[in-house]
Symmetry: C2
Subunit: 566 residues, 2 copies
């Protein structure tokens, strides 16, 4: 058997590809040196003086780094399919994604995870999956599926599955919930990485939680929080998503404390396609970190080697003999504009154009299953003499306030836009469950907005001022298999088709972003205030772990007392 990696290294055989005259970033010693990179069979042969190649590209002194790693993200949050999402990441030099398909798992379980994995893996990236650990996220809602330990074990050895996704059930860990412990054990036993999710968890509780096998956490919002997690042996992924932006605080603190960054990396968690298109993900974080004072090679190690080490991806994250040839060529390190992106030694930007998109399984295209309902079923019942709790939507926040409305004021307030009905229709198994309540702060007048993106169970959530508008919006989503809809009376004023599990669009990212822009504009015209994202804000109204008042298909839920109130 020929050993080309050896014979090419010795200069006796031609490489498949030689990147001549690069400035090679060694993220291990954190230094830069000049060299030619020889590549064979998708592997880096070595860096040195190499001329004998089937193909030779002169880099003319451009910088070469390992492909970037986005250490934790939910593709579904982009509303693009894995293929469309990867295109945007690749354009900015990300060749490895550690994804947690938590959203689709809540809708479609293992079938959904499998689709994401296969679709992502068809692209010239390393598409890894951390198996969602909390499906459903809480017992206070009905999701499309329940994933027990045995269901997770069945997926564990699928190619591309690394370990377990964020364990959000911190109380479950601390109270030794049987199934939570079983899940942790199943992955610890095999030495698999387990992502944590411990926002603001601290002290003995953090220590106890981490001691059950937690490998990473991406929820820190301050340096003190991140530092405590690091000292507990947890890798900290610094997050810059579309909503949560934690880099400035964490990095500035770390710089001030003069610590080592060796167990820190970058992630987006949730970032919109338009934002990625504009600035990339990891790449923009590297630039920000450098601006804050992180040495550039250290920031590049955070973008590459550090997460590779933590996730046990020994073949990735560095430029050395035998490693996978995932390489990005950059104009310079001040701007980080990719000139070439290679995955397994091939031009990924060219190759991604040729990828035949994976056919979406029909089961994932038909996930809106509603029981029959009447207009009346959609609206909270009330009378003049009653008093009713109201979820207060707060601009730019996912927590809500809690207030009350008197029955005699309801009609007037529905008219002036200061109040609306909010309802959540179970949409997976046509149970007919509908949770109902009131919401303030959304501002819509004479109309309704509906979405099938409603964390974490992704039931159908609708907000509106009247039953007709609400029905119109709901029926549209039922018709198109999920997405966003905006209606006034019997008229549809806007639609975003998210036909894949009611979460992602099969119609391409161009149509997706255009329709998103359009519907957002229409919603604001209907009264949604400027500081409120018309649909993203709604998607968090059904998340019964974030105070104060939330709504699920089971009813209005008081997160402070952890109980339903109607």
């Amino acid at each position: 058997m020929s050993n080309r990696i050896l014979t090419v290294a010795l200069g006796n055989d031609p490489a498949d590809l030689i990147l001549k005259n690069g400035r090679v970033v060694d993220v291990v010693t954190e230094s830069i040196y000049d060299g030619d990179i020889a590549i064979v069979d998708g592997l880096i042969v070595g860096v040195g003086k190499y001329d004998l190649g089937k193909k030779v590209i002169d880099l003319k002194g451009a910088f070469v780094t390992p492909g970037f790693i986005n250490a934790h993200l939910h593709v579904e949050s982009s509303m693009a399919t894995p293929e469309d999402y990867c295109v945007e990441e690749l354009k900015w030099g990300v060749t490895t994604l550690v994804t947690d398909p938590h959203e689709i798992a809540n809708v479609a379980g293992a079938r959904g995870i499998r689709y994401m994995l296969e679709a992502g893996s068809s692209m010239p990236v390393n598409y890894y999956v951390q198996l969602p650990s909390c499906v459903p996220a809480t017992p206070f809602e009905n999701s499309g599926t329940v994933m027990h330990t045995k269901d997770m074990i069945l997926c564990m050895d699928w190619p591309g599955v690394l370990g377990m996704g964020e364990m959000m059930n911190v109380p479950g860990v601390l109270n030794q919930d049987t199934e939570v412990m079983q899940k942790l054990q199943a992955f610890r036993r095999e030495g698999r990485p387990i992502d944590g999710h411990a926002p603001c968890v601290s002290g003995k509780e953090l220590t106890a939680y981490v001691g059950q096998g937690i490998t990473t956490d991406h929820e820190s919002i301050s340096w003190n929080e991140a530092k405590e997690k690091l000292r507990n042996g947890v890798a900290v992924w610094v997050r810059e998503g579309s909503a949560s932006r934690n880099l400035q605080d964490i990095i500035a603190g770390a710089i001030k404390d003069n610590v080592s960054f060796r167990r820190m990396g970058f992630c987006t968690d949730d970032k919109h396609l338009a934002d990625i298109r504009k600035e990339g993900t990891v790449r923009s974080m590297v630039l920000q970190a450098v601006k804050l004072g992180v040495p550039v090679c250290t920031a590049l190690a955070m973008a590459t080697f550090n997460p590779a080490q933590v996730y046990g991806l020994k073949h990735l994250g560095e430029i050395a003999p035998g490693k996978q040839a995932d390489l990005v060529v950059w104009d310079d390190l001040e701007n980080l504009k990719p000139l070439y992106v290679f995955h397994k030694g091939e031009d990924a930007l060219a190759k991604m154009q040729e990828v035949q998109k994976r056919k979406i399984p029909s089961g994932l295209l038909n996930t809106v299953h509603l029981a029959d309902f009447t207009q009346k079923d959609l609206c909270m019942a009330w009378d003049e003499k009653g008093e009713y709790p109201v979820m207060e939507l707060l601009p730019g926040q996912i927590i809500t306030g809690k207030s009350f409305v008197k029955g005699k004021d309801i009609t007037k307030r529905l008219q002036d836009g200061s109040l609306a009905y909010i309802s959540v229709l179970e949409r997976h198994h046509a149970t007919g469950n509908i949770g109902k309540g009131f919401i303030s702060g959304y501002g819509i007048k004479n109309g309704a907005a509906a979405t099938t993106v409603a964390h974490d169970s992704h039931n159908l959530l609708v907000v509106g001022t009247d039953a007709v508008s609400m029905e119109t919006a709901v029926l549209r989503l039922q018709e198109i298999g999920g997405g966003y809809a905006l209606a006034s009376g019997e008229h549809i004023l806007g639609t975003v088709a998210l036909d894949v599990a009611g979460l992602m669009s099969s119609h391409g990212s161009k149509e997706l972003t255009e329709s998103l822009d359009k519907i957002s504009k229409s919603a604001h015209e209907m009264g949604v205030p400027d500081g409120v994202d018309p649909f993203v804000s709604l998607s968090f109204m059904a998340l019964p772990v974030i105070p104060k008042l939330k709504i699920t298909d089971k009813g209005l839920f008081d997160v402070e007392t952890f109980s339903f109130i109607n």
Copy 2:
């Protein structure tokens, strides 16, 4: 099942042990913070405020680090058994040893490796083995055993075996020697670490060698050499043994180049017991590195976390929840004197005293098997008219010079001590092989010195001025099962019993060091010059890979022409 690591972390159950008021060195962030360390079932529960413990030790502000890791060493070089060796390492805070039992493997193969592993593992340390890859080291000598790929595979899953020991056959790799490639493949396939051995290998040859799966190297003698290896993706173990001292050059260079030390660690390779007793191993390297300008927490990471990461020992090398409670308490970081050493949460310095020494298998106590021989067989035959090649022993070096002696001068030179006979008797299988020649520079008069420590095949090597003395020394070693012997005529003037495989002493380190001192003194009195270690120098005369002239049981070997010359 109770989950004490959780309940203790929460403060609800008592820890087995609490180390109160420590200054905890976090080798990941490279920072120090105050805390109490709680320990349960040999594991670190966490660092925080802990009082509830079955046993509590007040550290009064002393520093706590993870147990140190000696990243590459040959226990046999100390001439102590694994138990005795570990005692000296433990006293200075080393709790993990990555050993390569290459010497005993050359004598006794898998049986010898097994003994080392079991004996070492009986001590309160983590005793790991990298399986010797080159037994015998060369085809130019007869060793006790030959270890083929299949023999290595049989040992691969023994508890404590990590991967493959230093692959010294660089030409074998570059020329794709079938068995060398098989061995590399067998370990690469399983993702096992493979130690390298590439002194002065550089450029394309280094790249080609490393690309075959090499994980580490400990042979660098300069920063440039180390840097090139690091850039090739290889972990660099900085070596300070009794003979090879490379720290100053490598560390000073790394400091000057301002690189990251994250893939560098410390090792001794070969260090004598007396030297270890005086200054320790890793501990003295940390102190030296700090003196050269390495930040103390960085040096401590090199001593702990870095090698743990490289060898995939995720449970070691840091102080964090769930990690093994291998901890060293130091008076301060300027002196690094251990106050306590814990292994799996137990006082290792106390526990090591109680360890029942492993019974040495009888096969290892009887390894000197000589065919019958006469006095005449021991000496190179010569006549007055001939001219004969001479190995020139050079003070402080393991390379030799090459000269010639005229037959007519031999008698006179044997008398004045400027010349001696040197012979190597095959001692494993009583084949009767004897290689013979002359040596200069050893200085002995009217006597002979013999040793069964003769790298790498460890045949019986004897140097002397006359056949009687030589016979006396050889017969003594045969009688005691190996070691060192010094004779004059029929009188024995000194003995060091190395009865375990002819390499190590079963009589304890006290007797060993005393007898070593004594025999060394006697040898110098017999004429061995001050700059020459009487027995260590001889042990390298049979190593047919080090120029210029060497001798094996097969004869005198010219390393420059790679051929036997008599």
